[in-house]
């Protein structure tokens, strides 16, 4: 029993070594080829697999270059090894989705030493060497608040935030403040301010059921006197809406992600807005920028729309922000046109003709 097990482990190890040797050999053999190396932090996440990677790959291959990728499986240490391996393979540009923005810095230094441009994809790497390409998360918060504030310019707001330990939660909240910041005052309802934030809670793991409980308790505490809810994503918006509807309330609620369930709610008029980050746009742009960088274009001109962005620790980063889709009942058909959701799914339970998307 012990023998064959040990034999099997040995065989496995040998084949891994052989495979990596072969991989390296193949890459070294064709050094004239343009290689775009992509280091994913965790390929298992549905989004990277289904939206981002195909978009990057398509853009890279359309330019006749080779796409090479690694998966760090959520390990910062593994990611350093992965990047070593991509450099060894002869990558001309590195696209990195960092597991940890600090632990990744040695890899950035190494790439810089080798003269390989680096794109920080989706997640920030606070180092002036990189080209930072992402969605504007502050912009998402701003867009949500703009829609809700447009509908409810005065009254009581509830803010249902995401995970407390998540930097994104604060970016979103900061964006909301850019819209309602001058107008809101903390404190008890009834103060003579146009907007009063009567409840503001974090939600463990962005979990809808917890958001629902938070919203129920909020409604209890102010006896249903809430006119609008800023929920930081669509899943939580679902929980919030369930809590509101149990009280017979129908008020504007925000969300983000372009969840199909949320888009359906937008079409039904139960959710005011879902901000959709179409990661195919980001992926395509990153692929094209990578090709430009590999051909020697300086990063300031790698793609149209580059700006300087001052990061949280004060570093000025050459950055590019992908456009957001702010989907409300007036333009939710964009999601159908772009193949995000089928007409049938969008319009399930929607009164025919009530919005343009569902004739």
């Amino acid at each position: 029993m012990g023998h064959w097990k040990r034999g099997l482990v040995g065989l496995g190890a040998a084949s891994i070594v052989a495979a990596s040797l072969m991989g390296t050999g193949a890459a070294l053999a064709q050094d004239d080829e343009m290689i775009i190396g992509v280091s994913w932090n965790n390929y298992n996440e549905e989004r990277w697999l289904n939206s981002d990677e195909p978009a990057i790959k398509a853009a890279v291959e359309a330019a006749g270059a080779t796409y090479a990728s690694t998966d760090a499986k959520s390990s910062a240490e593994q990611q350093l090894n992965d990047i070593d391996q991509l450099i060894t393979q002869g990558a001309d540009v590195l696209v990195i989705l960092a597991q940890d923005q600090d632990a990744i810095l040695p890899a950035v230094r190494q790439a810089e030493a080798e003269g390989i441009p680096v794109i920080a994809y989706d997640r920030i790497i606070q180092d002036p060497y990189v080209l930072y390409m992402t969605f504007d998360n502050v912009g998402v918060g701003r867009a949500m608040a703009e829609v809700i504030f447009g509908l409810v310019p005065e009254g009581n707001y509830a803010v249902i935030k995401g995970n407390e330990a998540d930097e994104n939660t604060r970016f979103l909240r900061g964006g909301m403040d850019e819209v309602i910041g001058d107008n809101w005052a903390p404190g008890a309802p009834g103060e003579h301010e146009p907007i009063t934030i009567v409840c503001e809670t974090y939600t463990d793991n962005w979990e809808p059921a917890k958001a629902q409980t938070n919203m129920e308790n909020c409604l209890t505490s102010v006896n249903n006197d809430v006119q609008a809810v800023l929920a930081e994503n669509d899943g939580m918006a679902g929980g919030v809406i369930a809590a509101l509807e149990a009280q017979g309330l129908s008020i504007p609620v925000s969300g983000q992600d372009g969840d199909n369930a949320a888009l359906n709610r937008v079409a039904q008029g139960r959710q005011a807005v879902s901000v959709w980050k179409d990661s195919r746009i980001l992926g395509k742009a990153a692929g094209e920028a990578a090709i430009a960088l590999a051909s020697g274009t300086p990063k300031e001109q790698a793609i149209e729309g580059i700006i300087d962005f001052v990061s949280p620790n004060g570093t000025t980063l050459t950055s590019w922000f992908a456009e957001l889709d702010v989907l409300t009942k007036d333009n939710v058909q964009n999601a159908v046109e772009r193949g995000k959701i089928t007409q049938e799914e969008l319009c399930a339970g929607v009164e025919a003709g009530s919005i343009a998307a569902c004739p």
């Binding site: 549905e46 059921a209 899943g235 679902g238 149990a246």
Partner: protein, 436 residues
């Protein structure tokens, strides 16, 4: 019969001075359970004072609290048996998620679209619930098989399960939320329409009350028949009155929470009523489900062979095995039951959020274990009660809801729950040492 009565000696000698301690002794209530009830009441009174406007003990908040506790309470009753048998199940949150997602897909995609039956078939929810229970039991059975028959430690098996079932949930749904659930199914999650209403709630309350009286009576008769000591009659009466009062009070609270005005207006419009009625909400369906589960599990744990075997195994596995208990099969059943309860938790949670979500129940295993442990379940095995676990779940949710109403931040709330967990077990441990 009269002869038998004379054999039953009262636990307290008549005429003895009734100190508080002897009164409790005569009630013969599990002291730990009594301690928990007192703790819960103390927490409620404290929050009633601390929360502005006396909102905590309002019918609305208590009703919310009951629904918010339901899913964790259901799963905690199973966790008691798991921990009693000296095992652990870390996978319950993920199992709840995968079953919830499975049920969401059945009713929102597979039956209406893939199979072409369309939405709002009257039988959709029945098929969905049965399929969910089946999946839960099967996953529990797999866990049980690996633990009891292959001999892998339950910590390892269910830690693996935690990862595997969460990932399968994500794959099943491609990370998306699945909504458009069956309207009947969603009633199982509560809400004004997902509640029993005034009349039914009163009928249930009175039935439960009658059940308590009957249980006390039949237990007394049985004790008398076998010549066991019985409680003094006054203590039987006191228990009956207190039990009934608690049940009827709970029904009264649930009934005095009126439907929100706008829903009542909709209701009046539907029925063509000229005047908008005041409708008492009554006990929510998920709460009835949880109470039913707690009752069945209590009977299983205390009155059925499987339950007693589980306690025997937890008390001393070797002795249980030597005395001829089929320990493997019993453990297997424990995990099957846990799987079933995770599925019931999934029914409540999915119906309540009105959608299947990929991150449902993340970290729930910890709340469930905490509820069981605060409820007096011991990791040493062999000790733990079902009502204790339900009370444990209620205590945790009371703290969370109360502190939220006081507008504390989530992290402060988590600190409070953590401290209460350790203090509760600490007091229990010290008390048990002293009793020895």
């Amino acid at each position: 019969m009269t002869n038998a009565v004379s054999q039953g000696t009262p636990a307290t000698a008549p005429g003895a001075r009734r100190s508080a301690a002897s009164v409790f002794r005569s009630l013969e209530v599990d002291s730990r359970l009594l301690g928990m009830v007192i703790t819960l009441i103390a927490i409620w009174i404290a929050f009633q004072i601390l929360v502005p406007n006396g909102l905590f003990l309002s019918s609305r908040n208590l009703w919310n609290l009951s629904v918010q506790t339901a899913a964790v309470a259901v799963m905690a009753t199973g966790m008691v048996l798991i921990i009693v048998s000296r095992n652990i199940d870390l996978s319950v949150g993920s199992v709840m998620a995968v079953v919830g997602m499975f049920m969401a897909l059945i009713q929102a995609r597979w039956i209406p679209t893939q199979l072409g039956f369309g939405f709002e078939q009257p039988w959709t929810w029945v098929v969905t619930v049965l399929a969910g229970l089946l999946l839960g039991a099967a996953i529990g059975g797999l866990n049980g098989l690996l633990v009891a028959f292959v001999g892998i430690p339950s910590f390892v098996v269910t830690l693996g399960g935690l990862l595997v079932w969460r990932s399968i949930t994500i794959i099943l749904s491609s990370g998306q939320t699945v909504s458009q659930l069956d309207p009947t199914f969603m009633l199982l999650g509560g809400g004004p329409r997902g509640s029993a209403g005034e009349t039914v709630s009163w009928i249930i309350g009175i039935a439960v009350c009658a059940g308590i009286v009957y249980a006390l009576y039949s237990s007394r008769r049985r004790r008398v028949r076998y010549g066991f000591p019985v409680r003094p009659l006054w203590s039987e009466v006191a228990l009956g009155v207190l039990g009934c009062a608690a049940v009827l009070w709970a029904v009264w609270v649930a009934n005095s929470f009126p439907w929100p005005t706008r829903l009542a207006e909709d209701y009046a419009a539907e029925r063509g009523l000229a005047e908008v009625p005041v409708i008492g909400t009554g006990i929510a369906y998920p709460v009835l489900l949880a109470l039913g589960v707690a009752a069945v599990m209590t009977i299983l744990a205390t009155r059925r062979r499987t339950g007693r075997y589980i306690y025997a195994i937890g008390g001393n596995p070797e002795a249980a095995e030597l005395s001829g208990i089929n320990t493997r099969r019993t453990l297997m059943w424990t995990f099957v039951i846990m799987g079933l309860l995770a599925a019931i938790g999934a029914i409540i949670s999915t119906a309540r959020t009105q959608s299947g979500t990929a991150n449902a129940g993340e970290g729930m295993e910890l709340s469930v274990i905490a509820a069981a442990v605060i409820g007096g379940t011991s990791f040493a095995g062999g000790i733990g009660t079902i009502p204790g676990a339900v009370l444990g779940a209620l205590i945790i949710q009371s703290i969370i809801t109360g502190m939220q109403l006081m507008r504390y931040d989530n992290s402060v709330v988590q600190i409070a729950v953590g401290v209460v967990l350790v203090v509760a077990v600490g007091i229990d441990t010290v008390a048990r040492k002293r009793a020895r």
